[in-house]
Each structure stands twice: as C-alpha cells, then as structure tokens.
C-alpha cells in the first residue's frame, strides 16, 4: 500500500512548486552570503535578528497571502499596524492594562478587517480602492492621535519587551570573550504561531480550501456551492486581525509609537507573498512560502548592506529587481507547465 503511494507520487502542485523554488533560492542565497561575507552570516544570531526585525512583517504577509489566494488585495495592513502601535502606546502610557491593550490591538485590526470585508464582499467595491481608503484613514488617525513620536513608559510592558528567549548553545563568543546567547524576541514566537495556524487553516480546514477555490475560479466556486460572499469577508477579517497582532508585535520590538511606523510595510508584505509563490491572480500560494519570501527579502537587504552599499536606495533597487526576477520566474515556470500539458 505504502509502496504503491511512493511509486505513483503526484507531480507538485503549482503552489508546492513555487514554494519549493523560493525555499531553494533562499538557501542558495544564504549559503552564498555565508561564503562571500562570512562574519555575521556565520552566526545563528543573524537569522534570529532577521526574525526579530521582521516578525510583524511576517504576520501581515500571512494575512495578505490569504487575501491574495482568494483573489483580492489588502494594502491597508501597514497603516493599520501603525495605528495599532500608536493607540496601544498612548493607552498604556495613560495607565492602561496590558491585557486590555492586547484586546485593543485585536479590536482595531478586526474592525478594519470587518469594514473592508463588508464593503468588498457585500457591496462589491473594488478591494484596491476600499483598502486604499482604509490605509489613508488609518494613517490619518495615527497622526491625529499624536504627531510626535511617543515612547512607551509603561513598566509592565517594558518588562514584557525585554523578555527574550535565550538559547545558549546557539550563541557566540563576543570579541571581549563573553559568551552571548542567541536571543529571540517574543514577537517571533507569535509570528511563528501565526504562520503555523494559518498553514493548518489553509491546508486542513474547509474554509482554507474555499479561499483557494474562490481565487482559482470565482464563478466555479459559486457553482460548486461555496458561499463566496462570506468566504471573501472572512479573508479580509483575518487579514485585519493579523494587522492588529502585527501592530502589537511591532510595538514590542520598537517600544515607541510614531506616525511613520511601518511605512511601506504593505508593499513589503505584498512582495514577500509574491516572492513566496503567491500569485496576484489568486488560487495559488502558501504561508510557508510567504515566510521564506519575507526572509529572502531581508537576506537581500542584508547582503546589500554587507557589500558596502549603505545608502537606503540600494535596498529599494535590489528589492525591485528581486521582485521582478521572481515574477518572471513564476510566469516562465507556470507557462512551461501549461505548454507541456498542451502537448
């Protein structure tokens, strides 16, 4: 029985194929960086730093992946993250409670998700326009709350920020001879839990598969008996919720609210999803791919810096090039597949 399964293995699905390519490229790139630049790349802490810096990006990218699999787009995620940070910082600095601040973060995220989802699914307005409006709205609200940067001063929260997972054997010996353990922030654990939960939802839960069906062919999905409106609503709701979580994680990382927080994060999230093998046309994608997409994006930036190109525009230029390369690669790979099928 088992042998039978082995000999008749299915070819990879489009989703699996694109994800494998991303993981492969990430590995090759990282190993190249280790060989060429050595130094920081040889320490495990390098990877952990990348995770620490990007936990909130990974979380919003997961939400975007769901929305994009369903054939939509959500460009409000960065602005909502920023609004959540500012709201929670102000709340905590005015003597708030940590538990309530978490609820506040989730609530803001869910509210944005629900309004977007309602307008897009039930009133059938273009997702791009709706979330663009949401983005402006959230950015505006953030600035109204405070034009000036707000540093967090809540003692309980500062303790929470400092709480780090330390792994001794993955650490390294610093120049002064001290042994420094590898440090992982709590936000990274939150991000990994998000990736895992969404992976399970997409793969094993009916709702998750309905996202794929909806993005694969909306008319068909309707004919097959799927409640398209509800499914689409839920995709934006989840994306909103994850923006809320992302905001809280962002705050735990930076410890300050700023009107320009998470600027451009939505674009980095879209880029991470696409590099991770999510198609803008919908129906194909996976959060594991997205995770590696975000890591690839970060690795590129680190490599650029390590090459001595310190000016920020070099990172933009390489990110642009990278995105272009991946989209080209995807269309070539999928195009060849389609051509092969025809023959």
């Amino acid at each position: 029985m088992k042998k039978d399964k082995m000999t008749r293995r299915e070819p990879l699905t489009d989703t699996q194929l694109l994800m494998s390519i991303t993981i492969g490229i990430f590995m090759v790139m990282y190993i190249l960086a280790m060989i060429l630049f050595g130094g920081g790349f040889l320490h495990a802490q390098q990877i952990f730093d990348m995770l620490n810096d990007n936990a909130s990006l990974i979380i919003v990218s997961c939400g975007l992946t769901i929305v994009m699999i369903g054939g939509g787009i959500d460009i409000s995620v960065g602005a909502v993250t920023s609004l959540v940070v500012m709201s929670c910082v102000l709340y905590l600095n005015n003597g708030g409670n940590i538990f309530v601040s978490i609820l506040l973060a989730l609530g803001i995220g869910l509210a944005f998700g629900a309004v977007h989802g309602f307008l897009i699914s039930y009133l059938e307005i273009q997702p791009f326009i709706v979330t663009l409006a949401g983005m402006f709205f959230a950015r505006g609200m953030t600035t109204i709350l405070s034009v000036n940067p707000q540093k967090i001063a809540h003692e309980g929260f500062l303790k929470l920020m400092d709480a780090k997972l330390e792994i001794g054997w993955l650490g390294y010996v610093a120049k002064n001879g001290n042994k420094v353990p590898a440090r992982i922030e709590l936000g990274v654990i939150v991000a990994i839990v998000c990736v895992a939960v969404i992976f399970i939802v997409l793969k094993y839960v009916r709702l998750g598969r309905n996202f794929y069906a909806m993005g694969g062919n909306q008319t068909s999905a309707l004919m097959l008996g799927i409640n398209i409106k509800r499914t689409r609503f839920l995709s934006y709701l989840i994306s909103g919720l994850l923006s809320g979580i992302s905001g809280y994680v962002f705050m735990m990382h930076t410890g300050a609210g700023n009107a320009t927080n998470a600027a451009g994060m939505e674009m980095n999230a879209i880029a991470s999803s696409i590099i991770g093998g999510t198609l803008l046309t919908g129906g194909v994608g996976n959060v594991i791919g997205t995770f590696f997409g975000a890591m690839t994006l970060t690795t590129i930036k680190k490599i650029v810096v390590s090459s001595g190109l310190n000016d920020p525009w070099w990172q933009s230029i390489t990110t642009g090039g990278m995105l272009c390369f991946f989209i080209l690669l995807q269309s070539v790979v999928l195009g060849r597949r389609a051509a092969k099928k025809k023959n």
Binding site: V205, R209, G216, S220, A221, L224, G225
Partner: protein
C-alpha cells in the same frame, strides 16, 4: 432500445412561459424527459434553448407553467435548489477550480464539518472515477487534466450527487473526436443507470450518434418532440430553421447563371487558424459570395482566418495571383481587405468615441499614427459617409454608443469603405437591426460589387444570403461540405447540404 422498455417520465415541463423586457423568450413550451434516455434539445440562436435550461437549473424563474419531477410538482428557486432536487448541469465552460485536485473538486461545497476529510474523499473519488472509467487520479491537480477529463470530472461530481437529470450544455465544443467518444461512452453508461440526460449541442452528427429523442425549439416556441430514428437530418434542419421542405422546393427557381470569368482577387489553399480547420477558398473581383451553415459550423472562424484575426497556422494565400502573407489584421488591411466583425460591440465600435472618430479609425491605422488625418479632412469624410449611407445621427460628433444598432453598423461599414477596400468581409452585418436598414445594407453590398469590390457575406438568415450572394459555401462541423451556385442556389438545396443529406 432499452429506453423504450422503461418509459417512466422523469421530468416534465408544461406550458412554460418566460418574458424578458420587450421579448417573449418562451411561449407555451413543453418538454418531457424519461428515465434512462438521452434527449437532444435543438434550436438555432435565440430559439430559447438556454432560457429553458436556465429555468430548469434555477438561474431564471419562469413566469408561467409547471415543472414536475417524478410526478411531483416542484419549484426551482436557485442553482443550489436545482442540485438538491437532483438536477445537475455541466456547462461548456468547465465550472470547476483548476488549482484544486480532482477529489477536492468532486467534494468541495458539499461536505460538512470544519475539517477536510482528505483521505476519505480521495478514496471515494477514486472509486467513482474507476466505476465510470474516467482516466484521472483523485490526487491529481485538475488543471493538469485534459479538457475532456475535466468535463468528465464535472459529470462524476454530478453523478455522485445522485442526480436524476443531467444537463450537458454544449459539452463537446472544445473536445476533439477521441475525447467526444470518451464522453459519449460515459453518457451511454449513465443512461443504463437510469439517469435522464438533456444534451444541448449544435453538432448534428453527434445528436444522431447518441440521442434517443429530439425536442426542437424555434423562436421561443415548441416545434415538436421526435424519436431520433424517425427524424431525418434534413427535416431536423428544416424544423430548426423553420421552413417546410415542400414549401422550400417550390421556391427553388434557379436564378440567372452568371458565370464569373473575372479575375480571381483572393485565393487561399489549406488556410487554417487556431480556430479554423484547413480550407480552400477563392473570390473573384466584384463577386459576392457567402459562408453559410448552422451556428458553430465554423463560418465566422473561416473568415476570421482570411482576415488574420485569429492566429493563422498555415496555408498559402495569393492576392491577384501574388503570394502574400497575412497573419495580422493590419496585413490584411494593407492588401485591401476589410472585415466587419460579427460582434460589433466587442470587436467593432468604440462606443465612447464620436461617429467621426469611429469612421476615420481604420484609415488612420492604415496611414500610421504619425500621419494624423487633419480635423477638416476627417470632418469632410464623416459628412460624406453619413450622407451616402444615410446614417441617422444627431451630428458627426455624437458618441456612437447612443446610435441605434443599425446605424452603428453603418458607421463601421463607413469605416471600411473609407479605406477603399478591394475585398470586404461582412460577418452578420444585419443581425439585430431593423428590416429597412437590412435592405439598405443588402443593396449597398450589391452596389459595391458592381463597382468591382469583392464581398464575402455571412448571415444566419438563408433568404438574405440567397438574395445577395452568387455563390454559397456551406459548412458543417467546421468543414466545407459544399459549394452552391446558379441553379442550386435555393433554400432546399442549402438545407440539404447543411444537413448532409447529399453533399
């Protein structure tokens, strides 16, 4: 044969009425489907086939009439409702998700519980696929299957939903011969299991190959229900088009035979495109000829190949004896060929632009965009053709979208006339326009021919073709099956050729 043995009525539709704003789409239509039969539903464009199907599948609500399934009156409120009552439909465009696996496609939307029971589904799917002889694996991504197999998966899904009535709406139009046979085997299999199948198609031969009974609709009314073996193909065509045979032969008076000795303008040998099978064709200077055949016979595809509107795959083309290469519309235009598309909304007019701008469009393209036609010049052209063609418009700057269908058609005609073509292809130029304008266009075609322009004319109305064309090329199932001229140019002969009685 076995259908006669168990003649129990499965589905009955009686006195079905359906009104759309301004049109009576179905009037007093009856339809009966028995257990274990394949029943072909036939009719030309606008006959009401798809309206009837959509009522049965709950897409439309009927305005009058009764539907009963196995003797019980039912009302069908939505596609979902139809499925619950045992009516499943497989459409021409496959309504499955190509990015999911075969098993997922078979079970999605009808499972319960939050979790996917993947193993269960895959096992059940494999059993069903095996029992129906469908060459697919449950774990395969649907998009990696051929179109025919995808269609069969859709049927398998319907069968597993315990459907009693299976509607196949043009299932064979994108399949090749081998795939069609696979589908027919499956249909016969289901028939043995007692499923009633409604088969909608425009391929006559396929109807005779699998169906037991035929119901013909015309102009929203029932023409009749016949046993397939009792209805010769010629009669079927006559019933679809709406002329009795005897009446036709009386009309069959040969027109004056004008043997064309003029030079050949355009000649194609083995021309084929992505949508048209290889065919030979020629047209003389000043000749009006036409392509005829039922809907889907390939008449439009053929002229599109001549114009280079679809991807041309092969064939040798000569214009005035010189070999030329026409692979894009601009090539054809440069060689003096104009093409008036069948769907003027999609391929022809640009509704937001004015009458004047629409008229000069083709000429401008020919000249190239770096040599703009001056405003005064274009105004003069527009005025001239508005007068010549009697285009009813408020002014030459009125947006074309606000004109009536017939006048829009004249604007497109003006567009091509302005380029002074040697050869004009008119695909259904008179569809959906009033009788007066129709006549004007027919007269114009004949006048152009007198002036030495070659014209190829396509129309669904055979009478109109007979009036204007001196030579008719008849197509069936994407092949040319006959060429009629002179004495043979009469309705009964055309119908016989379409039906394949004697080619």
């Amino acid at each position: 044969m076995d259908s006669k043995m168990q003649e129990s009525t499965l589905l009955q539709m009686r006195h079905i009425e359906k009104r759309f704003p301004g049109v009576l789409a179905l009037h007093n239509v009856d339809f009966t489907l028995r257990k274990g039969e394949i029943h072909a539903l036939m009719g030309e464009n606008g006959a009401g086939k798809s309206t009837l199907i959509k009522i049965l599948t709950g897409v439309y609500q009927m305005d009058g009439g009764v539907i009963s399934i196995e003797g019980e009156n039912v009302s069908i409120r939505s596609p979902q409702d139809a499925q619950n009552k045992g009516i499943s439909t497989v459409y021409q465009e496959i309504t499955l998700c190509p990015n999911l696996t075969v098993a997922e496609n078979m079970f999605i939307g009808r499972e319960s519980g939050a979790w996917i029971k993947r193993k269960d589904y895959e096992q059940r799917a494999d059993e069903i696929l095996k029992s129906l002889g469908i060459p697919a694996r449950s774990t395969q991504q649907l998009g990696s299957c051929s179109l025919a197999v995808q269609q069969m998966v859709a049927i398998a899904r319907a069968v597993d939903m315990k459907c009693k009535v299976l509607i196949l709406d043009e299932p064979t139009s994108s399949l090749d011969d081998k795939e069609v046979n696979m589908l027919f085997d499956l249909m016969r299999d289901l028939k043995k299991q007692g499923v009633g199948i409604i088969f909608v198609t425009h391929f006559l031969e396929q109807v005779y190959e699998v169906s037991d009974r035929i119901t013909v609709l015309r102009n929203g009314e029932l023409v009749g229900e016949y046993l397939t073996e009792d209805l010769p193909q010629v009669e079927l065509v006559a019933k679809m088009i709406g002329k009795e045979l005897d009446e036709l032969s009386a009309l069959g008076e040969g027109e004056e035979e004008k043997e064309s000795v003029k030079e050949v303008f355009y000649e194609a040998e083995g021309l084929s495109s992505s949508d048209a099978m290889p065919f030979d064709f020629c047209i003389h200077k000043g000749e009006v000829n036409g392509f005829t055949g039922l809907l889907g016979s390939g008449r439009s595809e053929s002229v599109r190949a001549i114009f280079g509107a679809d991807k041309v795959n092969g064939g040798a083309v000569k214009i005035k004896g010189e070999p030329v290469k026409i692979t894009r519309p601009i090539d054809a235009m440069k060689h003096g060929i104009g093409y008036l598309a069948e769907d003027r909304k999609r391929d022809g007019i640009i509704a937001e632009l004015s009458v004047r701008e629409n008229i000069i469009l083709a000429l401008q393209v020919m000249n190239g965009f770096f040599k703009p036609i001056s405003r005064s010049e274009s105004e003069a052209f527009a005025d001239e053709y508005i007068k010549v063609l009697n285009i009813k418009t408020a002014s030459r700057e009125t947006p074309v979208g606000s004109l009536s269908g017939g006048n829009q058609q004249k604007v497109i005609l003006a567009r091509w006339l302005l380029t002074h073509p040697d050869y004009l292809i008119l695909d259904e130029p008179t569809r959906g326009i009033d009788v007066g304008t129709k006549l004007e266009i027919q007269k114009l075609v004949l006048k152009l021919a007198e002036e030495g322009v070659s014209v190829t004319f396509i129309s669904s109305e055979v009478e109109e073709m007979l009036r204007t064309c001196s030579r008719l090329i008849v197509m069936r199932d994407r092949h040319i099956v006959g060429e009629l001229k002179g004495r043979d140019l009469n309705q009964s002969q055309v119908m016989k050729t379409i039906a394949g009685g004697e080619a």
